[in-house]
Amino acid sequence: MTQPPPPALEARGVNKWFGANHANRDVSLAVPKGTIHGVIGENGAGKSTIMSIVYGYLPADSGEILVDGRPVSVKSPRDALAVGIGMVHQHFMLVDPFTVIENVLLGAEGGVTLAAGRDRARKELIHLAREYGLEVDLDRPVGELPVGAQQRVEILKALYRGADILILDEPTGVLTPQETDHLFRILRALREQGKTIIIITHKLREIMELTDNVTVMHRGEVVANVRTAGTSREQLAELMVGRKVLLRVEKTPANPGPVVLSVEGLRVCDRSGVERVKGVGFTVRAGEIVGIAGVSGNGQSELLEALAGMRPIAAGTVRLRGEDLAGRPGLFNARALRRLHVGHVPEDRQRVGLVTSFEAQECAILGYHDEAVYNGRVLMDRAAILSRCESEMEAYDVRPRDPTLRAANFSGGNQQKIVLAREMERNPDLLLVGQPTRGVDIGAIEFIHKRLVALRDQGKAILLVSVELDEILSLSDRILVMFDGHLVGEVTPEQADERRLGLMMAGAA
Amino acid sequence: MMKRILTALAVSLAASATPVLAAEEFVPAVVFDQGGKFDKSFNEAAYNGAERFKKETGIAYRDFEVTNASQREQALRNMARRGATVITAVGFAQTAAVDKVSREFPNTKFCLIDDKLELPNVQSVTFKEHEGSFLVGMLAALASKTGKVGFVGGMDIPLIRNFLTGYEQGVKHVKADGEVFSNMTGTTPAAWNDPTRGAELAKSQFGRGADIVFAAAGATGLGVLQAAADAGKLGIGVDSNQNWIHPGKILTSMVKRVDVTVYDCFKTAKDGSWKAGHRLVGLKDDGVGYALDENNRKLITADMEKKVEEAKQQIIAGQLQVKAYQP
């Protein structure tokens, strides 16, 4: 037999330090040509670091990168493109007011006048689009396109610049199940044409469905390089976390009590006056978890923030334990709602739920800082704050257990635990929860889900907003689907499957 | 390094602990105000006077430019303590400081320019800017074809208003219906040093029909004179004779002989004829006046000169009253 062809991309013994943090420890991986390769790992496992090194964002401290068997020196994204590596970022790098074709041309104009390059690009793009099913309207401004189409523009950009190896960072985070399917079809078509795809994700289901091989990373190291066909979700999860994890949430059927929150005809506008919540009504009872499913950006964030008193409501009634709050600004604001025992775990913990430059103990009283227990006549009671934070850290196993450490220095999962502990340990009658496990390690997800179910079992009402269908399905007792500011359906988890929910989330059912 | 510091320390300790009393040596000193000695105007006139004294007598002088309000007193005291025989304080802003420091150093002579202060060791000099401005106002009105003339002041303070009030009276004296447009450059000391703004103000006055502009604004005035020269209009200089800056394009300059005052102060202190007390100098004492030289000879007709000289004699004789600005 002849020598097998060299891998399209190979990393050998890559090391990277961030100060004291060894982010990549002797990372080696090989991606055969014409395959789809998954890279999975928890937050901070080093998967983004190794890909940033490959794409030239970061210099490696040691080790080498080979493309088609030849060592390459990639010092910038421009170098990466020159050797055929393209990247699609989690957050798109597009100029919204520019048309698709202008975005593709940006930085690759290829001529003194735009017109010449544009005509050439148009031909090339039409060809590419036909070949891989990457249809987009080339003359529409990118800002007007749906998210899935914007992502296709990013892929087109990379291909147009001659990428043979395409790296996608968490590509499905913002997509509906249907859009995800579409993306996967495109990626498979690219593979058929001999392109090499690397996909970074934490979603095990997608790994199983799409990839040929998978590299698992844990604490900066590669812990496994396996063929996807020869592994299972459970095995991958165990490799990622380093121990056995329970992927399903164990819970008993709900035992709903009286209505705690009832909402009717609620309308909410965003800052620029655009209506984002267009008349919704629902109830949440004590002892149940009501999940709101939906693709990000369909009004659920605004709904949650309005209920938490963070933004004004335009119309409708909001009753808390039967008392109407609408039109009573004295009660319907973030400060007063906390006194009415409404907890709120916001969707974005870093930018909303915490002040990352504050110490953990300062974050532990955010929103409750003016309660009498933490205050003397003038000065705050530091001992009370410290002991509160210590006990919460203990109860939620926050690591490191240092109340004086700045919030920014905790990992995502531990930051989320600080927020959850603050909001849940005060025994709220109603808990509003947004994206409780976004960017959180699998191990911590398990913990957080257990806590939410436990709170429900204490007879508290929980309203859960999440774009993770798995989470909605496994936690909720009832599921509401939100699309374009409307609630378009209600199902029980038993009735629901991902396909049906996906169609509802896309507004097609 | 350490040794040097210690040496310097010892020296200055000595300086501060035992004030060097006026020895036989004659040491003149000048404390300039915030404009700085090269402001092309008032402070610079004082500088020129001191330089003239230095050139003629070969005696060097000490000088200091203050940068904030509390340095005035500090600078005067430092000069006195370092043995200055006679100290000239330039500008009315130093009045309070001179008042205080001159009492602490009764053996040191002080000259204060632009404000009145009567103490046994202080000579103070103020000028009748309104008289000189009256004459240049007359010349402006006589030379103007439009009957409209401009005035650009520096900072809006009583002193500058005194220039303006004299100028206005001079214009009206020639043409009762003559118009004077006046602008002050600003309300901070930056107003003395903003030629760009000065040029803009001058241009706006030209736009309203003025064809002659009087700049009483320190270095800001340079922009005014430049704008006038560029626009084919005429400017009027201030404090020093500024006719040479744009020959043939500056009608005249309202000269205020600060240089003479400083020179005289040093000179009399040197030869022993120095006297304390207040002097108010005007046309009569040649303390103020208008400049006539080869640069503007062609601009001033014989008729103009005759009228202005007549007025000057009347003012000196007291037949013509020019009112000063009353704060």
């Binding site: 008193g309 704050i385 | 430019e65 309000a69 303070i157 309300t187």
Partner: protein
């Protein structure tokens, strides 16, 4: 919380020791500024070591010089704190100059009106009224920022000009003592003056030479302590810091950003207003034009260099006080070193210590991180 602040610095990863950020980096920046100043002095033909050491001696070498240095530092502490409190609320108040100017008007009106009252009463009244005037002057830009979104940098700098215009008008046309050229009020009755340090120490039998240093220096130090307590130990300070660090988190926590923006600006303006107590009631004893002489702007550099922390602000204010006093005196001995050159030196210090504060930060920090990673290191 407060100790944490001091030990770890603002939002810095924990592994770099606090003293690096608070002491080593400012000193390094200062050193570079002095080396560059030395080169400039060399170019004009003087010996840099002589000039700089004379500057040091003239700043702290003898009691009178120290008095002047501390007097300058007093005003810089006030404006540095003023800039810092606004900064903690996410605001860049560059209107300290105007607020100090108006504060001086307040202190001066008290001095003019309270003839015959004992000085302690006058001092308390002047502190209150100058705070009121300064706060009122800062309130308008604060209100405009909070309620109308007008950018505070633009409005405060415009308010500096408006303050200058108002003061010029008042001094030239209203408050001027009749019959004098200089636009100044009459001198206050000596009984109302805030005692100079020389006088105050004289009561307890300590003799020091005369200088403008007065009791407001003690008030400045008290303000530093109050600042520290207020910002890190009270719920109001907590709210201001929350708004400054993360406005969305503030909204989430039920903290009103607009209320706190206005509150922070009021405190900022009051602190700047205290400059008036020092300058007008303590030194000049009359209201005069431009007595502020740029202290509001120096306050920005002081706050930047002092890392918005009271201890740092005191140290930075002392440094700038030394520059003002020592720099001013140097030109007596070295006529070549004129005030423009002194401004160059001061400008270099501001440039390196303030504007380029992060110049050496990455290198020094990575040096310490690497060393730290071999040793303890936090995972």
């Amino acid at each position: 919380m407060a100790q944490g602040m001091a030990s770890k610095g603002f939002g810095m990863p924990g592994e770099v020791p606090g003293w690096v950020n608070y002491a080593l980096l400012p000193l390094l920046n200062l050193l570079v500024a002095l080396i560059l100043s030395g080169l400039v002095i060399l170019v004009i033909g003087e010996n840099p070591v002589d000039v700089l050491s004379l500057m040091l001696v003239e700043a702290v070498g003898y009691p009178e010089a120290i008095g002047y240095t501390l007097y300058y530092a007093t005003s810089y502490i006030f404006t540095g704190l003023a800039v810092a409190i606004a900064f903690h609320c996410g605001l860049f108040n560059i209107g300290g100059e105007g607020q100090a100017y108006l504060g001086g008007l307040g202190a001066g009106l008290v001095g003019l009106a309270m003839t015959g009252w004992p000085w302690p009463v006058v001092a308390v009244a002047a502190i209150l009224v100058s705070a009121l005037f300064g706060a009122a002057w800062a309130w308008i830009p604060g209100w405009l920022q909070a309620k109308r979104g007008s950018h505070i940098v633009i409005t405060t700098i415009m308010f500096n000009f408006i303050a200058a215009s108002i003061m010029t008008y008042l001094l030239v046309d209203v408050l001027i003592k009749p019959g004098q050229q200089s636009p100044e009020t009459r001198e206050f009755d000596p009984g109302t003056w805030l005692p100079s340090m020389e006088r105050a120490l004289g009561w307890v039998g300590v003799t020091i030479p005369a200088s403008p240093l007065n009791l407001s220096f003690l008030w400045a130090l008290a303000c530093c302590a109050l600042f520290q307590l207020f910002l890190w130990r009270t719920r109001w300070g907590y709210e201001i810091r929350t708004v400054g660090q993360n406005e969305r988190a503030a909204v989430y926590a039920g903290i009103s950003p607009s209320r706190n923006i206005i509150l922070a600006m009021l405190i900022s303006g009051a602190l700047a207003g205290f400059v008036g107590v020092n300058e007008i009631l303590g030194v000049q004893h009359r209201i005069l034009l431009n007595f502020t002489g740029g202290v509001g702007f120096v306050g920005i550099a002081v706050a930047l260099m002092g890392r918005n922390h009271p201890v740092g602000i005191i140290l930075a204010a002392l440094l700038f006080g030394m520059l003002a006093q020592g720099g001013g005196q140097v030109s007596f001995e070295y006529p070549n070193v004129n005030r423009e050159l002194v401004m160059v030196i001061q400008g270099l210090v501001i440039l390196f210590a303030g504007a380029l504060e992060n110049l050496f930060k990455p290198q020094v920090e990575s040096l310490f991180r690497r060393r730290g990673s071999r040793g303890e290191g936090r995972s």
